[in-house]
Symmetry: C2
Subunit: 226 residues, 2 copies
Amino acid sequence: MKEGPDIALIGSLIGDPARANMLTALMGGRALTATELATHAGITLQTASSHLSKLEAGGLLSQRKQGRHRYYQLAEDEVGLMLENLMGFAASRGMNRHRPGPKDPALRKARVCYNHLAGDYGVRMYDSLLAEKQIEISGDDLALTSAGQSRVEALGIDYSALTKSRRPICRTCLDWSERRSHLAGSLGEALLTLFIDKGWAKREANSRAIRFTANGEKAFSELFPQ
Amino acid sequence: MKEGPDIALIGSLIGDPARANMLTALMGGRALTATELATHAGITLQTASSHLSKLEAGGLLSQRKQGRHRYYQLAEDEVGLMLENLMGFAASRGMNRHRPGPKDPALRKARVCYNHLAGDYGVRMYDSLLAEKQIEISGDDLALTSAGQSRVEALGIDYSALTKSRRPICRTCLDWSERRSHLAGSLGEALLTLFIDKGWAKREANSRAIRFTANGEKAFSELFPQ
DNA sequence: GGGATGCTTCGATTACGATCGAAGTATGAA
DNA sequence: TTCATACTTCGATCGTAATCGAAGCATCCC
């Protein structure tokens, strides 16, 4: 009867509090087991199982069996981007589940957005890359320049591996805390992995917050001057 | 218990089919009365009234009384942008309420996205403005250049009026059909209004489709060469 | 094998919200 | 004033989906 895509379906998937909790937990970027997700959502395993199959059927989650565990994660980058966008909208309306607590500043400073860096640090990195013309905007797409490519390879990232996947290498994602863009895509993921592998940053347990070490802060500032 | 904004609330608002229909109808950009929205959603006036107050409480809709009518519209640009984003996601998953009908091509060619031009024509306009450096990207924000400003004034748009509102003048919005950016913000709205005022384009009744006249197509191609 | 863990399926309960009829309020027209 | 239109509020019904207990299947460990 009506034209256009069906937003009610996705809306109702996200609209259940238990499912929303699971999705928020998965925004941490790690793949989580059904039991872990049940705990996050505060429901029993049976209920969680039912929710998870619905989310999978809706294309929001993907699943892989490993031994007797089932690991769930967001199906694609796009899911993470969409959720972050929704969070941005909700935050701008002051719809918060918790009173702004001590953890909040840490989240605003640096956090993981599905699989890449977000928050103040994410925005700083994005702006710096753009200012130094290592990424550039063409239309809606974001592209790595040749200068950017050699820079990235100098950092020890395997550029050719990035090109092999079907995912876009660079992509913008809107920040709910900063309301600015930061870098998503396979390069965004590779950079965050790099920071952690080098010991510059650590992920806090049970949180999306990322804590930079003193050395890490220094290295980051040198790599991405403001 | 969990950190971050509450996406379940918005999700559940959008998740009800009746409400989703109303929101989709309002993506047409016109303010509609409660009765009209009830018809769009296929429900009685009482039920619609209940839904509308929920949407208003959730910050998705705003309302103004005019005589004995109540006109509802999307509360802000951001609501339209968020919905378009959701539609993009839903469309990419093939979640469509209707089988692709004859109306579809018209929608893909040119349609209204809340209050500005979307579809192929929207993207072409955006790309052209960007290529001729009349708008430029800085960080996440889109800005009108001085060249763009004089160009816009030459078209007969009151630029100073645009600056007076708190809304951003330029803004990008992601297209669900083209999966590319097009121009939103008060300038996007002003341009669409201009096309219609000049008789270059007409809005189809009960649809988001925009039909360009032969003259309109010509003028549009001259204004925004590819 | 036996037992433990991780998860799914089934079935029954429950609770919430969508729905509409009926009645009430406000605005406009005659 | 009287009637009609536009909408809201109240109250009752009804359906659906979330929830969990119990049982079943799969995997791993000993």
